[in-house]
Symmetry: D3
Subunit: 291 residues, 6 copies
């Protein structure tokens, strides 16, 4: 054996992955991709490789992505100024159009191109395609936020067609409005969209990529990571203030997915290269699992 | 019978369409959608209805769309200035990005939304998805035009998956570069893309929507329309100057499609509401057929 | 636009049919064909065209036909005299044989030939084929009517094979006897057969063609047509004498079908050309709907 | 063992049939059924049992039947008189109608009923159904014989649908006219129809049931049966007068089938009960094989 | 007709089998093969022919075989001496290895070869293949019997794959251990294995071949055979001493199968040639049926 | 990164395997398993893991195994003495029986059990099953070697059924005799059997496991390994004495496979743990590739 990473070592590492591959073959895993992992070219390349490997060993992988700094850049370039309602950005028609262009026209297709370059097969979608994400406008405390929406129905037919055809669906979280907003594009929070898609597909796992280590007992101590949280503990943890404010929406997404029939959810640190593979195919796992 | 459009009349008109429906059921028809038909809301609605009806009676319909004034609007908004090479707009990286956002992120999804509103099932694609349109940079007389490309391969697997799944593929003509431009988005002429897609699918028909009546013998005389042109006549017609300069690229697209195995090609007037249905399902036809 | 029935008008009429086609695609509709519509060559041609169009746009269409004047003609030709029991014709063995020959050997195959000439695909069946209509002798008030029967079982396997193979089943209503009449042909009322077949197939619709406008409040006033009758109203209407005596058996067929799971039933006027298309594909509808 | 037909003997006889069943499983065999075997109730029952057993052990069995004395009876009953042209009965429109009624409406459905009673699954067809036998008028030496036809095309799609659905197709040999006789029923010789159907299906075997022992060297000596004739010998045998005049059309049907790709053809004696089974499933065979 | 076993007689016997073939087509029948029928070459040949005929007429046939004198011969040859516990042979590791070699390596493949020689298609399996028979060690009154096991689970996936592929599964009753004996081969009683397999497959019939006539009222009187026993009578019969001691395990296997959903079970005399065919395809049946 | 085999390292190694997995997914690879790799428990476990991983990532894997010391042990135990003909062991009937028992009854099922324990799905076969390896006796220079055979036909239907069912076929190389040895088991050289099976399946690769490094230029210098040999060089290499005598039969197997349509063949060192994975999924490869 001798030196690290000899052929023998490498073979041994592949063999270590075997039981994990066996466990997830043919299962559906939804990945929410966002944050730093969408910005740094190295991290981006690593995520894409992970996703392609997952699909290649037979995992039905759905990649849901968020927006990035590009939206702000384009808003700035076009001289568009933002209005805020209760601390949330008001999405007027023009902004919505720009958001959709960046998400579905640029980020989505860039990810698809990277998957294809890495030898995978991907197809970029947004909720307008086949009306697979239907929604209505979201009102926070009765306040109108413009074309910010919430999902009322996930139609899985299109996703099944795409997955069965052997393609990784890459999803921009724009929904199509119904009722009084029929035909109108709506901007959807990507974490929630991923959770609802995972629930609709009865996925095995939802993996939320974040820019933190996971759920920490002490925000200042990275070693205080909670490796597993049981759903029944969540309320207590929130009350005890253990869960930081920024983490609460992530945890609520996980609850949503679990309630909808997803087996396990994970909050993982997208700043670590190959966080997905490490979570799925090694003994250690990574981040916080909520079950 | 009596008054026009009685129930009897309407039934008779449906029956008149029967032999045409029988002829095209299960066949593939590629429609290039562009020009005024993409701008006027009335024309747009009529095209969408036609396409949904085509799909509904069992025609495998592929809708390839061009850009529109939105590209110029966005370029203007972002303060981008255009450079021209030999009269053709040079497409630099930033412009290509904007073009892709407008085509794949806005126009494409807007068309998909309209098809869905009209009761059809559509899925928006660009050539990056599944790398189904591969290309290289196009050089006109050796001059670099930036990220303008030409198609080198149409991979029909993705289109077949989408058509077999019961969805109308709505196609933005952005290709994915290969070789030295691997992974780079390339802007493709929509007429040529439609012709190449029709050829790759061995389509029954290619329908090119234009803003003119068809091929006219005398440009000033709309009654001088040539209803049928045989491929072997094309060279003579060009030499005789019968075919106007603006029409030559359209006719070359038709030749390309015919050479590739498409049975019939049509140049039709997109300014007439329901031009597609009239061409396909009535005795008169419309525009110029090139066979 | 101007003159009636321009290309534009015709296209508009096709588009008007679109939502109806969308509604009925892939659904099963059983048509009982009889009366004048089977005698007048013009009406016959129109019915056949309607049925072929229905099948062509994806409706699973089953055509059940009655007998016609040909039975009487053949009885007369062969010198056969009829005996009546309680006002109903007694069907002896020889008569049954002649009835079967006319229904399954002549009328059925003539209809099939017309469908084929009109570009459709049809297959003529009677209840003996695959024993798909099983029956026993019908006794009216204990009186023997000979080989008049009632259906005890509809075996849908054969119809499914034929429909899935892409053929319109054209059905003569001869059943195969069971129990003490095992193997014996039985003559079945075509309206009731159509209703039982529609119920067995859980059809979307049963359309009964008659020689009257529909259910009239006042038999002498064709404008007194009842457009919709709800099942719960039926008893009252019969008591009130609103439903004419001739119409009662038709209405009972509709009840039978509705009880068996058919969604909607219609009594339509077969004397109007294209009554089927008008009922299915236009806004007005025709005749009386019983739901 | 002892007495004949003990259980042991019976088992032994089943086992003897095994290699024959293995040979014909999944193969197509076309049986022309006619003559005495269609008249005597005992013979009829035996033929039906044979056909049901054939289908039951996995042979794709097609049963083509001829007419019988019923046609003459009906012609007589209706007072129809026959005209002869060159010794052949002229088939006028009225006669054709009666022929079709007897064949497709009576004999065909009677056979279907018997198959069903015997536990098989059958579907009665004539060439009008799905236009599966297309023909033109036959002219003998330029003389018009009325609606006597010859087959120009066998469309096997319908037969494949019926066979794959698990039904025995029972075929009346009425064809649908094309060209100048479009839509007209035509009367076809059943032997020739069987041969053409066998050829179109690339059948393993064609079995022609006759009322003679087979091809005899000496018509007066039943022991002079020729067990095998090779196609190349046929011309010589005809010249030598060995083949009797009545047998020539049968032999020509066999040639037709062999030319069309059928592997083996047999002329068998339908007067022997279970002639089909004896030919197929025992060592002796029966009648004359032409290969 | 005259002499026994003329062609006519033979055809008649085949026809007699028809209703039985119709009854069992597509059904699953599990045969336990053992005793004299595995030793005498004539009986062996007859069983194989029966099984091949069963499969050939469409019965999904599973052949479960026991061991034979070969095991003792090999034990003797290798000088292995047997130890007995409570009258049962203790199966140590070395004995288990020899048992498995004889069963799965010799007897199993010999049977497969015979089926193939007889024109059938067979595939030899033991419970280790696809782990389709899982078991644990069997303890009789707490005593360790070595590697004698009992079945805890029958995984029917493998059997379905083999049956659907058109092969007769020939099964050696070696199971794969689970829990503390994970991966260890276990020797299983073949009668019980056959019963459990029949139950898991929801078989139509279980046929146990024995070396006796069936269940006799009086062991000394072969004419006292009980042709049918109803399950509810079993306890009484045992109490009354009617069922001989040697027959009790057979009857308990039948009970096990009936409890598991098998429709009928039969104890038949494997010393009679073609006992399987006589039981399945003739009127008499053979042995004792327990239902 | 720091220490060897951190999570990061392990993920990186999985990613390194990705292009190899992509290359071999859905392809067929035949592995000849023998020698030390079948004896040492550690090597055995490693081979099984490799094979299970191969199958798990979608490679259609066929495992052909040789015999081992068990055959000699059993021969010794049973007191059987060997006779040699021209230096080759004469295989008499009794020896053949013992060989078959060890191969098909013990080694084969032991391998199947190991695959199942490792989470794979395997089915043990020998050439008798479905007669998938047919052979005749092999005669070396006219001398009779008893029941040593050579393969005359590989019937791939059974292997396809097993592979499509999701099972790894584990193959003992016993063939079934044809012609004068019909039904007789024949002992086949496992290397040649693997080559013929690979050719019949048009496999992507044949991997022969040996107990040497590969083809060495200088037998005494392990660093003189030839990494690639082109088929056209083989004759020269043999003449030059480069290929050692022991290696010649291995190389001839590779030639046989290449001639039969296999893309690449490899002679690899089974003494290295995970030699299969290293060859398939790492950059270095291992042993000698012959193409």
């Amino acid at each position: 054996m001798g030196e690290p990473n000899s052929s023998q070592d490498r073979a041994g590492i592949l063999i270590h992955a075997l039981p994990y591959i066996q466990r997830y073959r043919g299962k559906t895993i939804v990945v929410k991709y966002g944050g730093n992992a969408m910005i740094s070219p190295e991290l981006k390349a690593a995520v894409i490789q992970d996703v392609v490997l997952m699909a290649c060993v037979g995992i039905r992988t759905v990649l849901v992505h968020g927006g990035g700094p590009e939206i702000d850049q384009l808003l700035k370039k076009t001289g568009k100024e933002s209005r805020f309602v209760q601390g949330l950005r008001y999405t007027d028609a023009e902004t919505m159009e720009l958001v959709q262009m960046v998400l579905a026209g640029k980020l989505n297709k860039d990810i698809v191109a990277l998957v294809q370059q890495a030898g995978g097969q991907a197809l970029g979608l947004c909720g307008i395609d086949g009306s697979f994400l239907e929604g209505v406008r979201y009102r926070s405390g009765g306040e109108d936020l413009g074309f910010v929406g919430e999902i009322t129905r996930v139609n899985t037919d299109l996703l099944e067609t795409v997955l069965n055809g052997g393609y990784i669906p890459v999803v921009s979280t724009v929904a199509i409005g119904t009722e009084s907003d029929a035909g109108q594009s709506l901007n959807i929070n990507a974490d929630i969209a991923a959770a609802k898609i995972a629930a609709a597909l009865k996925a095995e796992k939802l993996l939320l990529m974040t820019d933190v280590r996971g759920v920490l007992k002490d925000l200042n101590d990275p070693d205080s990571l909670l490796k597993v949280i049981y759903r029944k503990e969540l309320d207590d943890l929130k009350k005890q203030g253990v869960v930081s404010k920024g983490m609460i929406p992530k945890i609520e997404c996980c609850s949503l997915a679990l309630d909808g029939g997803v087996s396990r959810t994970h909050i993982i640190d997208g700043r670590l290269p190959h966080a997905l593979l490490i979570e799925l195919f090694t003994d250690e796992g990574i981040g916080t699992m909520i079950v």
